[in-house]
Symmetry: C2
């Protein structure tokens, strides 16, 4: 069977399974999640052995240490996979919820029912834990899933897939509700993203290049997370006591996460007073500052190590560094801050530090990003901190789902009409 035929069969099976999953009871879905967790625990040694084979091949192919780190499993990370599935059990089932029912003058009652999207295709890198997470979230939200993980994780992914299949079958649900692509042929991705008859939405997770390519070539809707060029704006009316702590947390708690601040904007009225202190904190952590002319002068005057100070170029305002580097700009005030963010941000997460209510409300309203934060760190922008329990990704799109996408983002709402024999006049 060639890749095209194989993917068509996977698609057909997924579509058929999605019909059964849409009608599955919460009890059956939770039973499956618990069974999968149990299978993962009881087959821990086999999973670790499969992962060891993946690791050996990956080392042989010269993968860098960060990728190897993401690929590797150990007893604790296998347990975390199982526990993650059990946690998804505890989340409320979104499917079938009826809301907003209103009576219309015609006599009919009109409302919404939350329903699964159908078939979700997930394309991700060589991280076996994503296989379990994504399977669990799609299952609980009543979708069928087609998972395509990085080829370096193939053995572990297949071992996890076996646990998922057995858990589904044990609970009386179709084993094809979660399928892990068995071929490493890259053409499989091209097929997956161009089968609108079988796939309702694609969620790509990975580098910007991969996501841009998938968005360009997909013939089905894509829920995507491009990048996180997140801003912290220190307003004239900021609470001086908290500014340094919040900037420190937003920029330096973790350099590689998408909700890390990459750009600091500071109002001219407080820059002289606050920028030196912020600069000293950043310098103490060896964070390079790409600064506008005005902030460069203030930072130099404050005696910051010149080796950490670089004149910003236009490109810096758009950059997601994912590194101990931050761009710094003095702005006239709120208007310039909002305009700058709306011009340069990737639309992920922005924070304002202010004690002026009207500024907070304008920032919330006018900044066009998925998460807009008043007086807290950008690092809060994730599914767990927001109370979603788990997330399939963080969307920087504007339609359907913005920001952290949990169970609700994997569903849609249809209209329901309850009548008593009404006809339209």
């Amino acid at each position: 069977m060639d890749t095209r035929q194989y993917m068509q069969q996977v698609g057909r099976d997924a579509r058929a399974a999605s019909r059964l999953m849409a009608g599955a009871s919460t009890a059956a879905k939770n039973d499956a999640l618990n069974r999968i967790a149990g299978e993962i625990r009881s087959r821990r040694d086999a999973l670790l052995e499969a992962n060891a084979r993946d690791m050996e091949l990956a080392r042989h192919e010269g993968l860098d240490s960060a990728l190897l780190d993401r690929l590797s499993l150990n007893p604790a990370s296998v347990e975390a996979m199982a526990a993650g599935l059990e946690q998804i059990c505890t989340l409320p089932d979104p499917v079938g919820e009826i809301s907003d029912v209103k009576q219309r003058p015609s006599g009919i009652q009109v409302g919404h029912m939350r329903v699964p999207l159908g078939v979700v295709g997930i394309i991700y890198e060589a991280r076996p834990n994503v296989t379990a997470d994504a399977a669990g979230l799609c299952l609980k939200s009543g979708n069928a899933a087609i998972l395509r993980g990085g080829k370096e994780a193939l053995n572990a992914n297949q071992a996890i897939a076996a646990c998922v299949r057995d858990g589904l079958a044990g609970a009386g649900l179709p084993a094809t509700a979660v399928q892990v692509i068995e071929t490493t042929d890259r053409a499989a991705v091209g097929e997956l993203i161009t089968m609108p008859e079988f796939v309702d939405v694609i969620v790509p997770r990975g580098g910007k290049g991969l996501i841009e390519r998938i968005s360009r070539e997909a013939r089905v809707p894509v829920i995507k997370h491009l990048e996180g060029n997140c801003h912290v704006y220190v307003d004239d009316h900021a609470d001086r006591e908290r500014v340094v702590a919040i900037v420190e947390n937003a920029k330096t708690q973790r350099y590689g996460t998408c909700n890390t601040a990459e750009s600091l904007l500071i109002a001219r009225g407080v820059a002289t007073e606050l920028l030196p202190e912020i600069g000293r904190m950043l310098a103490g952590k060896r964070v390079e500052m790409r600064a506008c002319a005005e902030s460069l002068m203030l930072l130099r005057d404050a005696g910051i190590d010149g080796g950490l100070l670089v004149a910003a170029t236009e490109a810096d305002w758009s950059e997601e560094y994912l590194a101990p580097i931050i761009s710094v700009k003095v702005v006239a005030g709120l208007d310039e801050a909002i305009a700058h963010i709306n011009q340069y941000s990737s639309g992920h997460t922005e924070a304002i530090l202010t004690d002026r209510h009207s500024h907070a409300m304008r920032f919330l309203r006018e900044v066009d990003s998925a998460s807009v934060i008043v007086n807290a760190s950008t690092r809060f922008a994730d599914g767990f901190e927001y109370g979603l329990g788990a997330e399939i990704g963080i969307s920087t799109d504007k339609i359907h789902a913005r920001g952290p996408v949990g169970l609700e983002g994997l569903t849609s709402r249809k209209w329901i009409v309850l009548g008593h024999g009404e006809i339209r006049g």
Copy 2:
């Protein structure tokens, strides 16, 4: 200026205007809507004259009478445009609404704020009234709009565009918040659907061919309405008193609308009793029945005019006739009805006629269509009947918006976080 440069300029202006519209007050938006309505009324004669020029050209080019009918304006339809804008005024402003705020263990409060999508591109046929409707809905929902109407309506559209511009400017809003494309070059559509930097979503309205082409070529999300192959399923437990009236209304009230029933499914247990009566009603209205073998026999036995009875082919189950034709199939019961609908329907609207609660609930849950109706006509599936006040279209997509799309469908929700200086631990 070539078409590409022109469209880039339109896009840039729309993006800039969308920033201002996102922050516009409800009062300013309503003021603009009322002013536009006023301009349309006071320039009625000029609009009718522009439309007369369009009609003359269209007749010269040999447009058929249905298209000419949609193109034509008269004093009553001009007044209806103005009144439609005033009705949009009375709808609640969705923008800025904060909902679902919850306190998290970290101390932050997390919730949603409803926000405009940004820039909406609408591509439609030669119907000048859509220009006013679409402008009004985009304006009220805080979006900027780029409107591309059919070339046959160019003069009327430009005349309406002038009213919109003057109304916006009079209310202190950017005149570029609604732009009507001035060129008839078809390449303008290709540009409009491939400018993700300037356009957030495309809403195509028109024939299936146009919409499929746009979906295939677009590089921005598309909210689309493909077709309405709507079903009525008469269950074993249907209220016999209402069956004929509902089928009559669903099929024959209007033949050309997307929520008209195109297929009748009837449970075997009641087919012998009810199908003859339904068939006589349809035959009385000269509706052709494309029937499965079993229903064909029942209809023949009931003495229905053989000229109206045709053996259904496989293709009939997928057909949107938009004509006095209906496909008819006897099914074993609920399971087969749901499976048939999920296989052949276009996902627009389906109705079940039943008095059995468990059947109604299963149909609501398991039928995968934008609107699912119990004991009422499929003809209710539209924005006005659902209480949206107005609609920009009816979506047969599964993400973002399903079914009638009103003001809410032209918005999204961002996350907002209200903190008190919190940092992530």
